[in-house]
Point group: C2
Chain length 333, copies 2
Amino acid sequence: MPEIRQNRATKEWVIIAAERAKRPGDFNPKEEKKILPKFDRDCPFCPGNEHKTPPELFSYRRAGTERDKPDWWIRVIPNKFPALIPEVELGRVSERFFSKMKGYGRHEVIIESPEHNLSLGNMSLKQVEEVCLIYRERYIELSAEKNIKTIIIFRNHGLGAGTSLLHPHSQLIALPLVPTHIRHLLEEATRYYDDHVFCVFCDMVKEELEFKKRVLLETESFVAFHPFASKVPFETWIVPKVHNAGFGNISVDEAKGLAFVLREILGRLYSKLSDPDYNLVLNTAPISDSSEDFYHWYIQILPRLTTPAGFELGSGVYINTALPEETAKFLSS
Amino acid sequence: MPEIRQNRATKEWVIIAAERAKRPGDFNPKEEKKILPKFDRDCPFCPGNEHKTPPELFSYRRAGTERDKPDWWIRVIPNKFPALIPEVELGRVSERFFSKMKGYGRHEVIIESPEHNLSLGNMSLKQVEEVCLIYRERYIELSAEKNIKTIIIFRNHGLGAGTSLLHPHSQLIALPLVPTHIRHLLEEATRYYDDHVFCVFCDMVKEELEFKKRVLLETESFVAFHPFASKVPFETWIVPKVHNAGFGNISVDEAKGLAFVLREILGRLYSKLSDPDYNLVLNTAPISDSSEDFYHWYIQILPRLTTPAGFELGSGVYINTALPEETAKFLSS
């Protein structure tokens, strides 16, 4: 029998379509992925091709080596085809009935490794720690910019997840506004806080740890689980156990702890589902709300094993063909 | 220079990424689509295979012919793998911290033609009129069911748009709730109404007709345009010119007028962009709000020419690589 489940934090409904339900292992794709080389001379993110990207903003590199030359292990660059740029004035412009803003903001690329064929699930722990530390540093640096209101860090893995370059990288977009979607999430979380005087994400973490069946991993600082109302098969949330609305408040030790969980979870997806395409998003409060009691940052991983279609676009309700209790078990065994 | 534009009705922001912008013609795919046969013996929606689907709910068929036999020209059936089913009781069930409902609802398939290789853009006008009349009939019939609160009619065209069966068909899902996403849209429209004592969609239609540059087609009852804040390249809205919140209020003549516009617009997409994959959604007020002053039904067509990725999923903000003024011109020439 199908079920309609509600995510208590976002208030979004999903349909768990039991009639269409698949066993977790059935999502393992039949076709093998193309094996990538360790180095691709045509890839602008591979070492030796630094001149093919805009000048680097930041890097971790061997002492004494030059900027925009090899011998780095992480490199942050502006996106060559940026969605937003810092070189414009801020301000709303009226265009007759409508309004718009100039495209002020930042769009950066974090090249996660010199090796073309690695991914967060199979890099060394040390390397994933460096990636999480870079997330933290870029987030903190851009938070201090006067007109930046929201920062979205994300990762598109695989062609089906919308990436055009397969070399391992994350992206960061800093926006001069709070998106409507995020404003609605804040409103829902505020309403829960009004009713319970407690953060809904903190309560959810407690509940998931007690129920256990959707939990993949618990560490000192984090818990990873498949949410009760997962939108897509194998959707995974990684949530800090201690209340914290804004990602910018994360400590160095916590960032390292996050790296451990991220690598472990993405490694399981990699090995048990044959390296599926996925999107990863770091959800966090807008900068001005980063110390609030009612919101909580977390990482959301959305594998691209199914295709959301017209119904999802029109209603915002997802039809999920897997049970989160079963997918969590599959990834825990 | 990139722009950040806001849809005044939904309040959603989009980034028009001029640095990445393409000419409208560049979205024409390089690869040709596979040509489909007029009849496919393995297709459960083709005539002669009626026994492979659940028994029909309704059909337009030659007088004197039998149900679930050939000689129909439109056929409505329950989805064989329904997301929701009518044979359960309604009611919220608490599952510890979370809540869920049994999967009560309806999930129907409208087979739009006996011919396997047709689509709404290249069928006869008469046939598309019949499709729109069926939309109307099914909508009105299901609206009268006691526990149905929202009805979503949608169409997934092409494998990239999430369909598994290429035979021309639409779907209808009737929900026992108002999705959070739609509730938020209603709230935004209500706020506009509070400020202006006028429907924001009516105002938008007036503005687009006056500005002209994003309009594809205007008829007695409808206007089709590429919205100021289009989320994806070639996003198209078809909006009734006379205020009407709920689709169920559409007259027979209006349904026929809609068919004309739908066929014309989808025909242009078909010929000018080589039959692109797309999702089509009929956005309408929930049944209880179908006579409200502040909302307005419309059809939204979202071609799948680009892949929304992590940023879109996390922020709800789309990055559009085409200018709606240019795509509208391209489809109007």
